[in-house]
């Protein structure tokens, strides 16, 4: 099956809903269980909200991973302020905005793979994957 990618520009809360709806739909198609579909959509919701909260605009790319080990890959990117202290940002409860400080650590907990690249003043890219079990 061909790799399917959905591209969702993120500016507002409505786009966050769109990102998690698209994720859930793709996860269903790839063969994730109902529980894992919700875990994926929740992780995307946290990450997409971080974009609105910290960077104002950005995008989320949701792609299927095909083949013998199917899964879903999420890439969230923005050209916001970047993250000064990644270890700190990955601690539960740490926040520099008005959130709960659960976005990054929460998403990491729900996914199988989680990578973050950031440059101060240039932006942040989060890449995460989950495999069908």
């Amino acid at each position: 099956m061909a790799i399917e990618t959905r591209h969702i520009p993120i500016r507002t809360g409505v786009d966050v809903v769109e990102a998690r709806t698209a994720t859930r739909a793709l996860a269903t198609r790839v063969g994730f269980s109902g529980t894992d579909q919700v875990l994926l959509a929740t992780a995307v919701s946290e990450i997409a909200r971080n974009i609105v909260e910290y960077a104002r605009t950005g995008e989320v790319l949701v792609s299927s991973i095909e083949g013998t080990r199917p899964g879903v890959e999420i890439i969230a990117l923005d050209d916001g302020p970047g993250i000064a202290d990644i270890p700190k940002a990955l601690e539960m409860g740490y926040t520099t905005a008005r959130g709960l400080g659960m976005g990054l650590p929460g998403a990491r907990r729900l996914m199988d793979e989680f990578d973050i690249a950031t440059r101060i003043g240039r932006g942040t890219t989060v890449k995460m994957r989950k495999w069908v079990t």
């Binding site: 809360g13 966050v16 998690r20 919700v38 929740t42």
Partner: protein, 117 residues
């Protein structure tokens, strides 16, 4: 999308109809806090059956909503959290604190009747 709020006797029932953006959740919070005074309601039921994601923002907003309603002299019961959603919330370490919950609307009405008397 605004959540419709029905008045039924002493209670208000907010029945969420579709996925909600953060702004919609804040609107629901504000609407319920003010309607409780307007209708002198003693109890609020929020039906979240259709929500397929309850992330940190949604959880916090519902907790805040219940607290605001309590400060306005009424009780809140959240009903209809789906099993997958409950599982994801546990995985994320999200808690509704001391907010009352019930399986569905029917059970929620029983719970709220017990709380209000």
């Amino acid at each position: 999308m605004r959540v419709p709020i029905l008045k039924q006797g002493n209670f208000l029932i907010a029945s969420i109809q579709s996925a909600l953006a953060d702004e919609d959740l804040i609107q629901l919070h504000d609407d319920l806090a003010s309607r409780v005074g307007q209708y002198r309601s003693k109890g609020v039921i929020v039906d979240v059956t259709v929500l397929d994601v309850m992330d940190s923002f949604a959880t916090r907003t519902l907790r805040d909503l219940a607290q605001a309603v309590r400060l306005r002299g009424a009780q809140t019961v959240i009903v209809g959290i789906q099993p997958e959603v409950a599982f994801a919330m546990v995985q994320l370490g999200l808690e509704l604190g001391d907010v009352h919950t019930a399986l569905d609307l029917e059970e929620g009405l029983e719970v709220i009747s017990g709380l209000v008397i």
